[in-house]
């Protein structure tokens, strides 16, 4: 993840999709900086899959007074999907950060980690939050540097979890043998939810007001 917490106190829009050429994603995003600023975007982060060529995860932090439905309906998103060559528009997560868990301060992370991200439905977000907190030593032992929990606006049961792990092997072990406090791994990939994303932070665009 990024060295800062770019999605604190704002709406977060995330989408996970395939593009024909991942190398085009970043320059095309940069060209849309002003359009993104117009919708209130303040940070855009791009992650690229490590093993699934063409798969990208893009998160956008937005300060917006517009209702989320109006925001998603804006031409910015449609133009963006057109530009990167995405014909089938993926389902989009929209929510806010609930809590950030982590024992390793960002400044102490010398080597970029591997990102594991999943969207799933859980029974109760507050309970999940408490379970993650109580499992912190097990998460540390699994090589998890940070866990971010986001809650969807449109569904109080829906969460997005982004975790940073030490390396690819740790990430694979975590997905294959997740902790009991990580039910989202089993919940990913159902219905509209994409399968678990494993990738690396590619770049971050900070957009000034």
């Amino acid at each position: 993840m990024s060295p800062t917490d770019p999605h604190s106190h704002s709406l977060v829009i995330a989408s996970d999709y395939r593009v024909p050429d991942p190398a085009r994603v970043w320059p095309l995003l940069q060209r849309r900086r002003s359009a993104l600023a117009e919708i209130g975007a303040h940070h855009v982060l791009v992650y690229t899959s490590t093993h699934d060529y063409g798969r990208v995860l893009v998160t956008i932090g937005v300060r917006s007074r517009e209702p989320i439905v109006e925001l998603l309906r804006s031409r910015v998103f449609f133009d963006w999907f057109d530009a990167v060559g995405v014909e089938d528009i993926p389902a989009v997560f929209a929510g806010e950060i609930v809590e950030r868990f982590g024992s390793v301060p960002p400044s102490a992370r010398k080597v970029p980690g591997v990102i594991v991200s999943a969207i799933a439905s859980v029974d109760d977000v507050d309970t999940l939050s408490a379970e993650i907190r109580s499992a912190s030593s097990r998460f540390d032992a699994a090589g998890i540097r940070e866990t971010r929990l986001f809650r969807a606006f449109d569904d109080g049961h829906e969460v997005m979890i982004m975790q940073e792990l030490d390396d690819e092997n740790r990430a694979r072990d975590w997905i294959e043998h997740p902790d009991t406090a990580a039910p989202w791994i089993a919940g990913a990939g159902k219905g509209a939810y994409p399968p678990v994303f494993v990738g690396k932070f590619f770049d971050m665009m900070r957009i000034e007001d």
Binding site: R73, I89, S121, H157, G191
Partner: protein, 61 residues
């Protein structure tokens, strides 16, 4: 998740209309409007028709 950006329809709403009997993307569109405009979300609608969208069984928090 927001499935249909044109009409702001969520996967939860689509799961409900499927539970109420919609069995094709056209029936989903008629019931809730998802996929009725540009139609570019119909692949996701098909995923929801074939899967367990909104099913929380086995996933506990």
């Amino acid at each position: 998740m927001f499935v249909c950006l044109c009409n702001g329809i969520t996967s939860q709403v689509v799961a409900e209309v499927i539970a109420d009997g919609a069995s094709t993307t056209n029936e989903i569109s008629k019931a809730c409007g998802a996929g009725a405009e540009c139609g570019r979300c119909r692949r996701t609608l098909r995923l929801l028709l074939g899967g367990s969208g909104g099913d929380r069984s086995g996933v506990r928090g």
